[in-house]
Structures are given as structure tokens and as C-alpha cells.
């Protein structure tokens, strides 16, 4: 005898967050995911509004002739602000936001510790902005795969083979139109 089909739960909508992106959602069917090498991803959550957001950034490296201990944090700051603003637009409140940080691995020995620099930037940003960091899984030598349910704040992070992490460009691609001036 043929049984009636069990009603399916709504399809999970999987959204990949690429380097240079920040997205937010309050949809319980949405899952954000990303793969991180030396990049850092922030999973931000407002538990009252049940709104979550994720970004994925890599600080720009200094030009080859410059001191390799200083990095341009302007781009990381932009992506943090973009994340907070995406959450604002859905009704989240900054004072309630809690953050989890992932990534920032130093994949190859002997290379500049770019991952640690990204990780340090992210921690400092949260501290300066007064946003509580409830968890971090950063640095080390392994790439990570992160899944985040923005409407519930649940995160799953696993290490993965380093070749799964996208090849990182030394300079983060800047959003078209950034810095543009319009005088009215």
C-alpha cells in the first residue's frame, strides 16, 4: 500500500559567503556557509530579534616594498561595518549582538602569519566596538568549513583539507564604486 508522502519541511536555502561579502537573514530556512584559510569569518547574532549575519574578509597585504608587519585594516573594517548594517536593516540592535570568529589559519609554515593578523584585527574590532565575542576558533594550520543558521545563531565548524580553501588573493577585491564622491 502506498503511503501519502510525508510533508517536506521547507527546503534549506544554502548561501555561500565569499571573500568580500557580508549577508544577514532572519529566515529559518537559510544557512550561510563558507570555507576559510587565512581569511576570517564573523558569525554575528542578535538573539532577541533572531537575526544573524556572516562576513568573510582578508586584510589587504602591504605592497611588496613596504614593511610586512603592517596591514591595511580599512577593508576589514568596511566588511565589519557592512555586516552590522545588513543586520540593522533587518531590525537587529548592535548592543545585543554577539559574535563568533572563525578562520585566520596560517596554512604554510615559513610564510608571513597573515591568518594571525586577520584574527588579531577581528578580536580588536569586537573589543573596540563593545561587541561580545562568545566563541572563537581561529589560527592553527588547518582550513575550516563553517555553517551558520542565522535565525537560530547555531554554528558548525569543522577543519577541512587545506586545498578546499579558496586561493587567497593578496589584495581583497574592492567593491565597485567604493570611495566614490557624488556632490549634489
Amino acid at each position: 500500500m502506498k503511503h501519502a508522502a510525508i510533508p517536506e519541511v521547507a527546503e534549506r536555502v544554502r548561501v555561500t559567503i565569499l571573500q568580500g561579502e557580508a549577508k544577514a537573514s532572519d529566515d529559518p530556512n537559510v544557512e550561510f556557509s563558507t570555507v576559510l584559510g587565512s581569511c576570517v569569518a564573523t558569525c554575528m547574532f542578535d538573539p532577541v530579534a533572531r537575526i544573524g549575519g556572516m562576513n568573510h574578509f582578508l586584510l589587504a597585504e602591504p605592497p611588496s616594498y613596504a614593511d610586512r608587519t603592517t596591514f591595511d585594516d580599512h577593508y576589514g573594517l568596511f566588511l565589519m561595518e557592512l555586516l552590522v548594517n545588513e543586520m540593522f536593516s533587518l531590525g537587529a540592535v548592535k548592543a545585543r549582538m554577539k559574535a563568533r570568529l572563525y578562520g585566520g589559519a596560517n596554512l604554510r609554515e615559513g610564510m608571513a602569519a597573515i591568518g594571525s593578523v586577520n584574527a588579531a584585527f577581528a578580536r580588536k574590532f569586537l573589543r573596540d566596538e563593545g561587541i561580545e565575542m562568545v566563541h572563537e576558533d581561529m589560527e592553527g594550520r588547518n582550513a575550516r568549513r563553517v555553517h551558520f543558521l542565522p535565525a537560530s545563531g547555531q554554528v558548525r565548524c569543522r577543519t577541512t583539507v587545506n586545498t578546499a580553501a579558496p586561493t587567497q588573493q593578496p589584495l581583497a577585491p574592492r567593491k565597485a564604486g567604493s570611495g566614490d564622491v557624488t556632490l549634489f
Partner: protein, 125 residues
């Protein structure tokens, strides 16, 4: 010697305020800072600046509200007000222009373009 152009930056993010202070003072501007539109209004009630540079998304009083409030006062009717925002939609820009903004700059800002814009609106180029 000509006095330095004085800018009031309005942004709720301490990280962004630090970045702006550094970029603008390096380029010879005098910088004052407020954390949101309301603090900017209170400060401007008893202080003078040449340019106001404001974010949009802020608690208490946002950038649009700040512009409207400043424009409703004769003292600030001609003061250059530049918006500095991660947003770049035509709808938001139109709203700022209608409220009386002088210009719109998209974040992440370029220090040179920002400096040039400030000089243009203060006619100090």
C-alpha cells in the same frame, strides 16, 4: 597662516572614528568627533565647524535626521554636510539630497578622494 579646515565627523563606530581621525589629521584637517546625530547636534549648538561628515546608520539620531535638523536651523543652512556611508543606492542618495546634504561618499573611503571632496565643498582647494 591660513587656519586649518575644521571637520566634525559623526559615526557610532569607534574603529571608524579612529580611522577617520587618522586619515583627516594626516591631511592637515582639524578633527572633532561625535558618536551619533544627537551628540553632533548638541555639540554644534555651541561650536563651529567648516564641514560635517556623517554616517547614516546610527542610534538615537541617524544621518538623515541630523541633516534635516541642521537644515531647519538658519545657523547651519549653508554648512557643507557630506554623508559617508557603506550604502550606495540611488534611493538613499536621493533621500540625503532632499534632506539637504551637500554630497555622498561611499565607504570604504579613499583618503585622497575624501580630502579633495572636503576641499571642494569648503572652497579651499
Amino acid at each position: 597662516m591660513k587656519q586649518a579646515t575644521r571637520i566634525l565627523t559623526v559615526d557610532d563606530s569607534p574603529s571608524m572614528r579612529a580611522l577617520l581621525r587618522n586619515a583627516l589629521t594626516t591631511n592637515g584637517f582639524e578633527v572633532e568627533q561625535a558618536e551619533d546625530g544627537q551628540e553632533a547636534l548638541d555639540w554644534l549648538a555651541s561650536n563651529e565647524v567648516d564641514v560635517v561628515l556623517t554616517d547614516i546608520n546610527m542610534p538615537r539620531l541617524d544621518g538623515f535626521g541630523l541633516i534635516e535638523r541642521l537644515r531647519s536651523s538658519a545657523r547651519h543652512s549653508n554648512r557643507p554636510i557630506l554623508v559617508l556611508s557603506t550604502e550606495s543606492s540611488d534611493e538613499k542618495k536621493r533621500r540625503a539630497r532632499d534632506a539637504g546634504a551637500t554630497g555622498w561618499i561611499v565607504k570604504p573611503f579613499d583618503a585622497e578622494k575624501l580630502t579633495n571632496a572636503v576641499r571642494r565643498v569648503t572652497h579651499s582647494a
